[in-house]
Symmetry: C5
Subunit: 229 residues, 5 copies
């Protein structure tokens, strides 16, 4: 049907536009959720919503760059990630805090690790730093975050929560474990195999990114909505 448009350039643009609409819708849904959820769930929910909104803004930039110049610039992805990924990590912290007291030091360490994870990846991609070393550094910060979520103070506190809270924490953590693995994997594909700009890779990448961006916010919304009853 619209074959020409699709094969010539549209796989990427439909992936981008779809992600844009999906992340923006998620953000609005989280914001509206503030009107029916319990007060103590509002902080993680607001953070999840703002993270989705920041993703939408990032993809808005990426979409317009693509439509005008047919380029899938990583720079625009980073501009969103600097806000999105620390916010997601902070949302995890406040998610756990809604159940019980998590030491505030965890928040600072995790926020710093999330920022440094994005920043070191950025420095590598931008060429200010040895790309391989930067990628390894970024992975190290990511592993630190996983360590906090698996063996730190949070799992003990979450374990005392309701079933919904425990399940929600389990899934968010899983996405941050498996889903975020796409970023170092893509980096490898991109640098070693050198096919990071192919339409298929960009579309697949965007799909994984979409899942990483959407689901944690939606899980927070789902848990917060259930905890109300």
């Amino acid at each position: 049907m619209f074959g020409v448009l699709y094969t010539s350039r549209d796989v990427v643009s439909s992936a981008y536009a779809g992600t844009l609409i999906a992340t923006f819708s998620t953000a609005v849904l989280c914001f509206l959720g503030l009107s029916w959820t319990d007060e103590r769930w509002r902080i993680p929910l607001a953070m999840g919503g703002v993270a989705a909104l920041a993703s939408a803004l990032g993809y808005l930039g990426a979409t317009s760059l693509w439509l005008t110049e047919q380029k899938a610039s990583g720079a625009i992805r980073y501009s969103g990630w600097f806000t999105v990924q620390p916010l997601q990590v902070a949302a995890v912290y406040f998610f756990a805090s809604a159940t019980g007291k998590v030491p505030v030091g965890v928040f600072w360490r995790m926020s710093a690790a999330a920022l440094l994870m994005v920043f070191s990846r950025y420095l590598g991609d931008a060429g200010f730093f040895n790309p391989t070393l930067a990628a390894l550094l970024s992975i190290a910060f990511w592993l630190y975050l996983l360590g906090e979520m698996y063996f730190g103070a949070m799992p003990d506190i979450v374990r005392k929560g309701s079933r919904a809270v425990r399940l929600g924490f389990f899934w968010i953590r899983l996405i941050l474990t498996i889903g975020w693995a796409i970023y170092p994997i893509l980096h490898f594909v991109d640098v070693v195999i050198g096919s990071g700009q192919a339409s298929g890779v960009v579309a697949l990448y965007t799909l994984f990114d979409l899942i990483n961006l959407l689901t944690p916010s939606l899980i927070v919304l789902a848990v917060a909505s259930q905890e109300r009853y």
Copy 2:
């Protein structure tokens, strides 16, 4: 009067612009409705509103593509549908849940079916897959959704609800039965007869799409507003 503008290219652009304004207005109306409806109706209402908003964003893209390139790309329609149709199906689930407890498994099965329905249709149209097979697969997922709504757990629960709830469910289900039939029909017209790009077909199609996008959200709003009293 504005004959030239209309006949040359404007049937499509006025259909698009009208749909854009109508869906956006519906979204805003649903969001405002959150301020006067009962708390247990807010989840389906918020979802209906966000579905209308995502439709508006999709049509915003379609309108600008049309105005700049005179093309009625299906790709942009899909970018909205990936968000809109699963959200509408989820809104139906939460609509029924506002009356009584619907097993959460229904939600997961229906959401997955809705996503796969759009996705298989997309793969066919984009040419990644045999178009006929993709269309049949998409119809199968749609029939599964109808099955859940006609013979699953939901109708039993809704039957215990008030008259407004029963009527609302009846109409939403009817739209998802008759209205959504337009998508496979158009696909047939498009592929077999090959006239899917003609202005008249696009305008007619948009009209049906508009009804599918608007009415479920407005029905949720109407039922939620009546249940308040």
Copy 3:
């Protein structure tokens, strides 16, 4: 002072931009009004606000078309009217309903008549139908709406309301009687005299349209604000 800009093309663009700002401001004022008005007035107020917002979107399209192509297309006006005029009629119904029970059949008949009124006018202007016949049909639907408002169930119910309600209903009805007369009149000017595209006519027309779009929403807001005390 800015003579050249004004005489060359700016009467229309300043009429358009002024209408855009005025309708958008009205919409925002109505939405904010939801925070201080009584709950039973929120439905007509929300509808009045959304009608103003849809007008603003329609004029946004008209303004950008004018600025880029110097054309005052009717197509863009219609794209807004399809949403605005049924919403205004529905707002009148819910305005009356806030005072006492109006049969729901009135709502369906009036909404249908409002939609058909715009649709038949559109078909005539777009040339799908005999323009004179379409215009007459459109006038017939309009007269039906007036009949419902003057001799139907609503005036009896409104008569039992407070002074503010009665006065508000009187004025809204008057605008829908006198103000809406501009649409068939302009059509006559346009088709018979053929001067519908002259700057002065477009500006005058926009002025009347503005009054039709603004005042009903503002009247609903004014009545709702007074009924609070």
Copy 4:
């Protein structure tokens, strides 16, 4: 540093962009203020906020016109003023009404005078009318407004209010007296001296306009916030 950009064309664009950001920020601040102010102050506050928003929209138009065509069109200023100045006058009325009952006739007379003040100025500038006569007429309506505010029913009512209300009314009235004097003065400079398009004049003019647009809304917000305690 950015000398070239500044001297060549940027005094106007930085004045415009600064006004745009300042008026929009004021609008948002007033809207947020609705969440902490007392219910009876919400009407004037909402009006002040919408007036600031309408100013921002007007300056958005002016800024984009300037950036694309390097013209400081008065037409776009008027498109905002038609909404802004009547709203500001109405905000003054409701400001006084929050303290005690002001006859509703004052509202109608002042709103009409504000509309006619802008309209007669517009007709003169657009060349539909003798510019000098139009300017004099506009001044007459302005003097009428001042008369209502100094010798009408409002000052008596405000005098019974708290210190914050009295002080607020004093300052708003002062701005409407001294600040609004810039409009006839500029008109004189423009027509008699003929330098109304010089960058310096436009920038100075915008600065005064900014003060007129911002301060009344901020004063309403300040008074409403204090009256809460």
Copy 5:
């Protein structure tokens, strides 16, 4: 990977886009925070949020200027600063006021000093005034602001507050001391060394500006959220 895009022009654009997304997200987070914070913290929080929003608007202008003309104009920075920096200073005042009564004279003196600080810097950069003198004047106003915050009425009042309030005030003051030092330093780099337009300098500058814009608003949000319990 995207080497060309990065090295050629993208350090600045990714710094700008990142700042845009981060400031906008902060603004939304502060606005949402109004729904869970205590009423007396809403004024400083709203101001912090609006300051972040005004920053976002300023960077929106800067980003689009950069993308279209590859220029890092200071004019657009100033257009935001005129709103942002006085609002931040006002937020500090209302932050202290949420704890105890701070004389209103402090507010007026600090607001005036903040406005004059930006204005004198602007006059120097725009070349209306001796740049060195203007910079010195601007530094003088900044030192005055620091004086009020270190030795004025505010520290005494804040000292009586909770630990969170004291800590928050300490950090905001620190940012206004160390962070704002970047503005005179950059001015020196720019004028004396003359490398203010180099990509690296603009990016570094934007990074510091980002910290100055974000952190005070986030600190207000954090303190307000803790004071709730």
